[in-house]
Symmetry: C2
Subunit: 183 residues, 2 copies
């Protein structure tokens, strides 16, 4: 029993660990941007849908609204510095692709570019948007998935090969050993 040892905290965003991803948007051959987001999650299995929370003040927000799609790029732990950078500067004042040497590659099903250097790229088309306050939640249907062949085992993403990161209260963490086997 833990009764009696609980503390009440202010209502806040304490759901952790969450993913940390690089979302790309715009047009692969025109205006585009990359933004780091952690307020993202899977929303549905069939069709597969991803929900991303974006502040309306962000440059990327207007691009997602205008083009109606986005790409979720999952990082390797070695790419955490890219996430930190893309979460700290605005695409209004800087071409983050050029600055970081990232390749905005043409996607197969959406206009937003995918980032060639990231091991997983999930192409999403916006189905709906909900205004919640500080953030609007875009719900995107997954239309295509690309993955580096070196992170796959039997055609599935293998966390041991990918070396992904989780985000917890402002810091990035690698994953450690499995607590349980896949069921």
């Amino acid at each position: 029993m833990t009764e009696g040892t609980k503390r009440v905290l202010a209502p806040a965003t304490v759901l952790y660990p969450v993913p940390a991803v690089l979302v790309t948007c715009g047009d692969s051959s025109g205006e585009k941007n990359a933004i780091t987001l952690a307020w993202v999650g899977t929303a549905s299995s069939e069709p597969p849908c991803i929900a991303i929370g974006v502040r309306p003040t962000r440059y990327s927000y207007g691009l997602i609204q205008r083009y109606g799609d986005f790409v979720v790029n999952l990082p390797r732990a070695s790419q955490t510095g890219i996430l930190e950078y893309c979460g700290s500067v605005s695409g209004r004042t800087e071409d983050k692709f050029a600055k970081l040497g990232l390749t905005p590659e043409r996607s197969t099903n959406v206009r937003a570019p995918l980032v060639a250097e990231f091991p997983v790229n999930i192409e999403c088309k916006v189905k709906t948007r909900i205004s919640l306050g500080s953030h609007d939640l875009f719900i995107g249907e997954v239309l295509a998935v690309h993955a580096d062949s070196d992170i796959l085992t039997d055609g599935e993403i293998d966390p041991a090969k990918m070396d992904p990161v989780a985000y917890f209260c402002g810091s990035y963490f690698r994953l450690a050993g499995k607590v349980s086997e896949k069921r």
Copy 2:
């Protein structure tokens, strides 16, 4: 450059790692249930909102609809077995609280119970629901947060003390070392 080494996978739910949580619903002094969910994420910072994807066929779906609220209980790694169990049996046929010796404690702001044994409990009131296909997405506003005092450092949740888990492609993982310091 990774160009040329990408493989195209079928559209699927490949956004990982994601949280794995125990969501409680119903009435702390009446009908209630606990369901394991991984299709959850933070949706907004102000007000803090959490989105959870629930299949309409689930017993918990009806309870969340009827009472209009839920509690997100975050586990310690040692509680992964509880998540596995609560994700594999239905509350229609079993009282999971009794079976597992979990204490459904009264919440402060919602009717759904919180699980006393879990280190973090996030009380949420449903703001809206979106039907997506296999899952409906409930968006809940966070009204209260409870945390075991032994997982806090300077009033904030400390992952080193909490020992949380992340969910990746069907398996649970502990977090390893920090890739970067909090900014």
